[in-house]
């Protein structure tokens, strides 16, 4: 069980080289080996969405990927998206609308909402709920999260119009 494999990938724009056990998930690799604990692990079988990250541009469950599969991949976590300022407006909207309470689901919610707004700049409330249906929140009842995403989309459109 001590067998390990070398992998090289980019995480939040930085080159990373490590040896990993073939059984280690990307989520555990990010949290335990790299200390990127913004990615949360809820269910560990792909249902709750807390561990959502971006891989080569698309959102994926980091608990359903093995780290060893990510040779050459480009991974972005909530840490990278926060530091770049790419989702600062969404984060501010979540704050203003009380769209987080305990914060456990928030990283996954933000990454998923950001992906929605890239493909659909003016989502309806129903479309927001559909898109976020794979991300569980046990505090807010979702209403405030939908409010925040809707508000962020609206202010992005207003900025574009100006």
């Amino acid at each position: 069980m001590s067998e390990t494999h070398a992998i090289r990938l980019r995480i939040n724009g930085e080159e990373v080289s490590r040896r990993v056990s073939p059984r280690q998930s990307l989520a555990d690799f990010l949290r335990d080996d790299l200390g990127l604990t913004g990615t949360h692990l809820g269910c560990e079988h792909g249902v709750c969405g807390a561990c959502t990250v971006r891989v080569d541009g698309g959102i994926m469950r980091s608990c359903l990927l093995l780290a060893v599969q990510l040779e050459g991949a480009e991974v972005e976590t909530i840490e990278g998206l926060s530091e770049s300022g790419a989702i600062a407006d969404l984060q501010a909207a979540f704050h203003e609308r009380n769209a987080l309470q305990c914060g456990f689901c928030t990283a996954g919610m933000l990454i998923t909402a950001a992906a929605l707004l890239e493909t659909n700049g003016a989502p309806s409330r129903a479309e927001i709920r559909d898109y976020l249906s794979g991300n569980y929140c046990r505090c807010t009842g979702y209403h405030a999260i939908v409010d925040a995403v809707e508000a962020a989309a609206r202010s992005r459109r207003q900025r574009q119009d100006r």
Binding site: G46, G49, G58, L65, L66, Q69, Y131, S133
Partner: protein, 278 residues
């Protein structure tokens, strides 16, 4: 292991037999590993096999590589044009983050009774291309699905591609499911195709899923849509579904609930297909 060629993957599969599992998108397999429902000694990762990622129109059929992701089925112009039922079904598969990774071949090989893609493959009379060290086998989707999580895929074979026959100009399709929340396992689902000429239905295919151990081709219900007086067809077809379906009870309800939901779906499908009052 990370397979660099299909031959490498097939050789490993032959050498390790049932101790090995093929890892495609992993959206069903990795949860099974996490829950210790499956404990293979070896995973054969086929994600690097570029030849299995293509979507091509050959002139006679649409060929989809087994590694085509669900998200690509939603957006591919070729899929929209030649297999619109597949494009309609794809957004109902789980959630965006799952659809970015899950694959067509993986979904067919896993054969979950509530999964969308096996039912669509049956409805479209697709051919599943299986490759093993001994050569290639082509199996019709209607023979491929045998039962609960059971297919005619042999332990030394890999699904390489799916071939879908061309869409006829007079064909119409409908995809409907009854689900409590987007992306959940549905209570009952229906993939339907119909050929309509001069306002008259000349053929219909109804494939129910989530109401049996595998996709169910409702032959009697489909036949009843063609026969008899137009005004009586829908009710006759709904009644005929009782002979087509033998739904097991599940967490969504007992057999009577499932039968009721199947009748509701048929009515909605007939409306969607534009067959009503004809």
């Amino acid at each position: 292991m990370r397979a660099r060629t299909l031959d490498e993957a097939l050789n490993a599969l032959a050498a390790h037999g049932s101790a090995a599992k093929v890892l495609a998108g992993g959206q069903s397999l990795v949860p099974a590993l996490a829950m210790r429902l499956s404990e293979p000694a070896l995973l054969i990762d086929i994600n690097g096999l570029a030849a299995m990622q293509a979507i091509e129109w050959s002139g006679t059929h649409l060929r989809l590589g087994a590694l085509v992701r669900h998200a690509e089925l939603e957006t591919s112009p070729l899929v929209r044009k030649h297999a619109p039922l597949l494009a309609m079904a794809a957004p109902h598969i789980a959630h965006p983050a799952i659809r970015n990774r899950g694959t067509l071949g993986g979904s067919l090989a896993f054969a979950d009774p509530a999964a969308e893609l096996p039912a669509v493959a049956v409805a479209l009379d697709a051919t599943i291309v299986l490759m093993g060290r001994g050569g290639t086998r082509r199996v019709g989707a209607r023979e491929f699905f045998r039962g609960l999580y059971e297919t005619s895929l042999r332990s030394d074979e890999i699904i390489a591609a799916v071939e879908i026959p061309p869409m006829q100009p007079e064909s119409r399709v409908a995809f409907l499911e009854l689900v409590r929340r987007r992306g959940d396992y549905a209570m009952a689902e229906l993939a339907a195709t119909a050929r309509i000429t001069d306002g008259r239905i000349e053929a219909a295919t109804l494939v129910y899923f989530g109401v049996g151990t595998a996709p169910v081709l409702a032959r009697e219900g489909a036949q009843a849509l063609l026969d008899g007086l137009p005004a009586a067809r829908l009710r006759a077809a709904q009644a005929a579904l009782d002979r087509d379906l033998d739904p097991p009870a599940d967490q969504h309800g007992d057999a009577a609930v499932k039968r009721h939901l199947a009748r509701v779906l048929l009515q909605r499908a007939v409306t969607a297909l534009g067959m009503q009052s004809r």
